[in-house]
Symmetry: C2
Subunit: 354 residues, 2 copies
């Protein structure tokens, strides 16, 4: 093996919600690490993080932080990635970026290993991790597409607040407490902290995630549309998305309508395909009330699929309900899986042996 001493891994954004999950996943999956460098903004630098019983101090990121790094995992926001990812690549690191900064760049592979691991071969130093809502959907749709073709996708999401970071989780908890105690709380974070208007999320539903683009869709919706086409390599696929925020802490749910390439298929065929799909767990027994729910998906690696029904009026139409932990498969886990795929495919080498 080319990595017998392991890799020098850097985590950029080590103190954030996703960064913390990345560090946990590196430990849990026993990722081959020779050295772990934890980086952040100046504000969070100096914090201490426990990794395999060793205390590591988070350092402020500067371009030189990436000297000697083999794999750099970024989750500190798009502008940080734009600034530092090229610096890391310049110094020989492979960057796996959790932000949307490079996702639609044609030079950058956008990867869910179960779907398009092969796209890693074309990388130029940066690999993008897709949007959380996109990852869980394409993981469920790809096996169906391979078996029966896919023409159209209409998704409505039910997204947890942790997708908007730790401040949004805090806001949900504070608001819920206040409403129960009949106190006033001024919303300050959701739907988008940098925008003017903020709305109550506790006991409410907000049909806005990220800012609006000029066509009336939000950026989150456009990410789902464009990233799905790119990951599946299907520019002709019809995709539409409506993205909605709920008072749930973690776990994204999706109501997905698809039209496949044949009218010769029934629900049990689709279930059979998903039963054998990598990274997917079928939870679909209506007669015993078995279906996926976010409260049961939290902390689990898989994408859970249930409520599979044939459309009653459209011969090629099917409906399904897809749930996954947005911080795991939707972010940290998929990032680590990309790194594992790079190793498996021999696309990354450890500088200690170079």
């Amino acid at each position: 093996m080319s990595y017998k001493d392991g890799f020098h891994v850097a985590v950029m954004g080590a103190t954030g919600a996703v960064g913390q999950q990345i560090i946990k996943q590196l430990e849990k999956r026993n990722f081959p690490i020779r050295k772990l460098t934890l980086l952040s903004s100046a504000r969070s630098a100096g914090k201490e993080v426990l990794f395999k019983n060793e205390v590591i101090t988070v350092k402020e990121a500067v371009p030189e932080s990436f000297e000697g790094v083999d794999i750099a995992l970024f989750s500190a926001g798009g502008s940080i990635s734009e600034k530092f990812a090229p610096e890391a690549v310049k110094r020989g690191a492979i960057v796996i970026d959790n932000t949307s900064a490079f996702r639609m760049n044609p030079e950058v592979p956008l990867v869910v290993p179960e779907v398009n691991e092969d796209a890693l071969h074309g990388h130029n130093g940066i690999i993008a991790n897709p949007n959380c809502s996109t990852i869980q959907m394409v993981a469920a749709l790809q096996p169906i597409r391979e078996a029966y073709g896919l023409n159209k996708v209409v998704v409505s999401t039910y997204q947890a607040v942790s997708g908007a970071g730790a401040a949004a989780i805090n806001e949900l908890n504070k608001q819920t407490n206040a409403i129960i105690n009949k106190e006033e709380v001024e919303p300050a974070i959701l739907p988008v902290s940098s925008l003017d208007k903020h709305y109550q999320i506790a006991f409410n539903v907000i049909p806005q995630i990220d800012k609006f683009t000029e066509n009336g869709y939000t950026y989150e919706e456009m990410k789902m549309i464009n990233e799905t086409k790119k990951i599946m390599g299907m520019p002709e696929l019809k995709v539409a998305a409506t993205c909605v925020r709920l008072p749930v802490e973690t776990g994204h749910s999706e109501s997905v309508y698809i039209e496949i390439g044949t009218n010769k298929v029934n629900v049990s065929d689709i279930k059979h395909v998903l039963q054998n799909a990598p990274g997917v767990t079928l939870q679909d027994e209506p007669e015993s009330q078995v279906y996926p729910m976010p409260a049961m998906a939290v902390g689990k690696d898989d994408v859970f699929v249930g409520r599979i029904r044939k459309d009653l009026d459209e011969e090629t139409g099917f409906h399904m309900w897809i749930v996954s932990d947005n911080l795991l498969k939707g972010a940290a886990l998929n990032t680590i899986q990309i790194a594992e795929s790079l190793i498996k495919l021999g696309l990354v080498s450890s500088k200690v042996e170079a």
Copy 2:
């Protein structure tokens, strides 16, 4: 006017969540009432209700309770309607029934006054009030259909717990409190109190409303599908529904995808149609973050529509977000509006003058 002294109105299920709203609406809308009879099961009989500063005692319903009643408003569950509605009709009352007992009976008009008031002419004593989720959707779709035709509807709902009654509201509040205080609570009501399995609703999402039918859809989903076709008088309309329960007390939201009868229409045409539609309020200004949300729709009469977008890949496709107070337009208000339509059309007369 044939009702100058007003009507003798009976409310069956007067102590329930919807019954209480019906009584409030009768007062608020100054419905022409000569006498108000409040009925319930033996268990709730004896309770006192204030109506126009007068205390009315709720009585246990027996067939004779409907002697002399002109209009009977039922919201006490399907089996109660099946038992007592024919008794009321036999005694000359017109029944407006809030349950699903008679909705798909071809002899029974299923009415949303803004959509199909004319269907009242064919009544045989019983008129059915549609399912809450159906009402708000058809109120928004009918004006679009009239202007541009309608071929297909795919809806995913975001439904509040109050649709499952007062016990479900209580369960949401108790569970929320317990989770915040890190205590245990055993779910006992949702998704369906009479079924074996109950799931946490606080900070969770349950993709089941009502029991499952044999085809894998729930009864709630089949209601939306069948009732939409019946109310709109379009058996050929393609309709599909996925119904989902959320930790929201009141206010149903719906993500609706439609395909209309022309590709010559843009978003501003659809907005223009909805701006002039009865019972509908357009809330659609993405640039200033204006869109409908349940927390803002509670207590309001209208159906709120926003997030209207043209599908980017389907020439005739549009998306929208529809929100309404499920206890008002979704139940009590539509019931009273049906009664008002009956009066307006001269289809009910007061027995005092007969």
